[in-house]
Symmetry: C2
DNA sequence: GCATATTTGTCCGTATGTATA
DNA sequence: CTATACATACGGACAAATATG
């Protein structure tokens, strides 16, 4: 009944995952087995297990006999990620009950984002925005969809990593998120879904704009 | 420019995957590392890599220091799988263009199912039904959604494996599938989605009924 | 509750195959 | 084309945890 009792491989995977989303490892960068194994003080076999997990999650790219590298999301990947987000999130909102407990978590994330914006803590604003969408997805009450979305978020953070100014990306959407919460509470699911779709489209556009530069 | 040059681990994974969907390995059955490694004539490390891949895909369950076993989908898992199917498939149909090339593939799958039904080849009927839904999902033009759905199908086959009579499960839905294709061609997406939702609900019910027995 | 046997987890050394300089 | 560096795969070894008596 205690913690998952994670194996060393998954622990290492979590570490590398952290490095990737923190930007400590950059997209396209090659990861040497021997070098990383020495640095993390694990054997190559253990490291390889971690590589397989992260490759499956889309964070690393594995080319047989050529090694693994940090995935480099291209334009097509970003478009695809947003297509999946649109499908999952809009449907989640459309089918939501006005009394679902996740709505409270969404409201809480909005408040956190507002407080962080006051202090110009843009990194926190970004995290709160992600929390908002994660809570939104949990409206579906589906463990599998939540797991899929978690992987998607990791890939997205990889893409966001190339963006220098987090304020531009996240800050303008706080009020939009707040409006979605209110609409859900009132049972106006269709309006909420429309609003969410507009947000996603705009977010995708800003991200794509950065990639063209 | 040649074949994907799959690693041995993924080759072994494909073999085990085949065994699982064929019913050669039963849900809940424990897989001994040493025994399987000898049987497949690979080292334990290579086999473990295959285990990681399949565990990530939901086909195997891994408990640290207790080994891996074939996943045993419970009632909650089946309900969850159908929730994901409903979300993905209905949205795919709702947003589909009447001229999408995937519609032709759907129609083709319906014809294959009809032909197989004539010959009472129920296994082929089942495969054609799966092809129908796979084509339906490709309406989204999203590689990630198609990959997610492929994993979902593997889990579903695991659950279907416990069902003795494939005819009961698949045969009645051929005409329903055919109706969906026609509605899509006419641009009646909402009606098609409604019809699809009814099918999924009925399919879920029959599967759950078997599990209670 | 305790000791033992089995299985998994992890690591190392080595040989082979592949890609790249 | 050759050579080097690296990933891949193997087998064996020991440590850690679990299960069984």
């Amino acid at each position: 009944m205690n913690e998952p009792a994670a194996s060393l491989g998954s622990t290492i995977a979590a570490t590398i995952r952290q490095w990737v989303v923190e930007g400590r490892l950059l997209p396209g960068q090659r990861l040497s087995e021997k070098q990383l194994a020495e640095q993390l003080e694990v054997s190559r076999n253990t490291l390889r297990e971690a590589f397989r997990l992260l490759t499956q999650q889309g964070l690393l790219t594995h080319i047989p006999y050529a090694g693994v590298m940090v995935a480099r999301p291209d334009l097509a990947a970003i478009i695809d990620i947003y297509r999946v987000r649109q499908l999952i999130e809009c449907q989640a909102v459309a089918d939501a009950s006005p009394h679902h407990p996740a709505i409270a978590r969404m409201a809480q994330a909005v408040e956190q984002a507002r407080a962080a914006r006051e202090e110009h803590a843009w990194l926190t604003v970004g995290s709160a925005n992600i929390d908002f969408h994660r809570a939104l997805v949990s409206l579906t009450d589906s463990p599998r969809i939540e797991a899929i979305y978690a992987d998607l978020c990791a890939e997205l953070r990889l893409a966001f990593g190339l963006v220098d100014d987090p304020a531009r990306i996240h800050a303008p959407y706080i009020e939009s998120n707040s409006a979605i919460v209110e609409l859900l509470k009132q049972g106006e699911n269709q309006q909420a879904a429309t609003r969410l779709a507009a947000y996603l489209q705009q977010s995708e556009r800003s991200l794509l704009a950065v990639y063209k530069g």
